[in-house]
Amino acid sequence: AMMVPLDPCNKPTSQRRITEGDTVVVYERHDSMRAVTVSAAGVLQNRFGVFRHADWLGRHFGSKVFSSGGVGGKGGRKAGGGFVHLLAPTPELWTLVLSHRTQILYIADISLVVAYLELVPGCVLLESGTGSGSLTTSLARAVAPHGRVYTFDFHDQRADSAREDFEKNGLSSLITVAVRDIQGEGFPDEYSGAADAVFLDLPQPWLAIPSAGTMLRQDGVLCSFSPCIEQVQRACETMRSCFTVVES
């Protein structure tokens, strides 16, 4: 099922069955989940047992499946007894299962950022840095199906990993990843005046704020996330010279 549907037919409704190639989120416990790509010969092993992907094919999302193992186990109750649930992937679940290459944002901050940036379907936004793509995935959902997220990271390999994740999650048409040092160089000129929103998660965001101002359309929104109050202070000071309504 598509993590972010680009088409009404792609939604994970009750009619949809798990098929080969689908990404499912295997829910073991509330604090233990992982993303798995379903393949005919695939096997998942965890503390609850051995699970054959083949037993999952044709089932509903949200199904409870039991471990095989033991003789002739067919995912039936009598084998193993351990079970997991197979969930349809969403940006929220992705945030909980993705591999951390950097510190990530979690749903509390993500939800506030999406609301503060006033995102609706069709918006264009710029993000720096991409990091592990946790927020980026939620941003893509907010602007789908026709909006765009242009995201930048100064680290080659992490940009590649993010791009791979987005590809696997069917988000490539929504998200473009580029390698660029936004603090040093600002955003690319070709996006001038094209952005509805800009998001910054940088160690020295004040260096990028003037450029963000140039990228934004009239009444567009800039949001900068900083873990430390000193960063917030410097960022606010810079914002006051090129923005109205600065709130922290």
Binding site: F61, I107, A108, L112, A115, G122, G147, Q233
Partner: protein
Amino acid sequence: APPPPQTPTPVIPREAWEGCSVLLDINDGDRLAFFRLTPGRTVKIGDKSCSLQPLLGRPFGSLFRVGPSGLVPCAANDKPRGGGGADGQAQDETRDNRSLVDNNTAQTLSSEDIEAMKREGASGDAIVEALIANSSTFGNKTVFSQEKYKLKKQKKYAPKVLLRRPSSRSICETYFKKYPARIGFMRVDALSLLLSMANVGAYSDVLAVDMVGGLVVGSVAERLGGTGYVCSTYLGSAPSSIDIIRMYNLSSDMTSRIFQAPLGDLCSLQSAGDAPSVLSGSIQRDLVEPAAVPDESLQSSLAKPINTEVSDGNAQSMTVQPINMEVPEPATDDHLNQGDISMSDCKGSNGNSIAPKAPRAGKAPSPERMKYWGEHGFSSLIVAAPDHEVESVVADLLPLLSYSAPFAIYHQYLQPLATCMHSLQASKMAIGLQITEPWLREYQVLPSRTHPHMQMNAFGGYILSGIRIHRPDP
């Protein structure tokens, strides 16, 4: 050089148009009010009644000052906010208030003098400068105190009006500040969490119980962007008011996605194959009387036929207001009503405004649509009924969700959610159950003056979230 990106056509209108809903921010958040830009509408600033006409066609985010004949566009304040080495000044700041005596003798200009200046056409800024010049204590104040003094005088004699575009965020914040009871004290961070937890996005089919004036339905409709659907269901025989959606400037595409259906109709969608929930599916229940009755008066006649299948035996004495775009907001609400909200003189332009002929929000869904939802399920559920017990509502609605669909339930108080969570755990209809208490604190951030705002609201409500699962046949 890479070719210029093919960016999509902008979707957010950036200029105010005739008939649109705007949020006026007077004096930097001191006063917030919604208005509709219809001919003849005015706003009262100080003792002056100003026409809103100058706002038409202006970009959102524009600033206005009050000139002799009304609102005039002006440039943003070149605020002397700690510019020019405020940090240095702070370190050298040796002044304090030890010699200040508040005996009302510091200012030598009298109110008659000020009136005379106004009559002679002196600008607000000139009056402020004169007040500063005639204050014997001004020079002894700290630089921060001087700034504060100047700003205070400016707000009184040279008020500024900021034209803002209403959005989920600004609408929620404004209501939370002014009429929090109407939105069940749902703070913006709680609303944002609901939308994310319920995975609201394009093509979603969202099932909602909105007893917060339409704040949830409006925000969901915004996030759907003219795709998908939001079905707002209600207990009792008549829907509760969702009038807040009129603040959102929803396009006709978006409003056509908003449906309302009574709970009884939806419950009959439940397909036979579903495992019954542990709790009774009966619709008879004891509804807690809403603690905060909205002051909208009960309309004497309903605008359209209400579904007469009264599913709830307890006909509630809840004050409800049917969705009728033509009826103006009742006069008790002075701010919102000020030249505002009446849809009858709204004109269509840019296809953006809600023309009176456009499909009304909140109509009943077609049988085909109901059938679709019965077979496919809703993609998520949001419940915002902050004065009611939610346990049985959720038990009734959860079976209507698609398998693996998320749900998010807001409540002002913790206990009803704890009860609901317990039931859901026992019913084995959901996993990933958790109760979240969102927390948001706003700060003033200025050089050497960074601190939380002096007033903070401690309660933004709680959210119970989880995912509906497919129960295997026993």
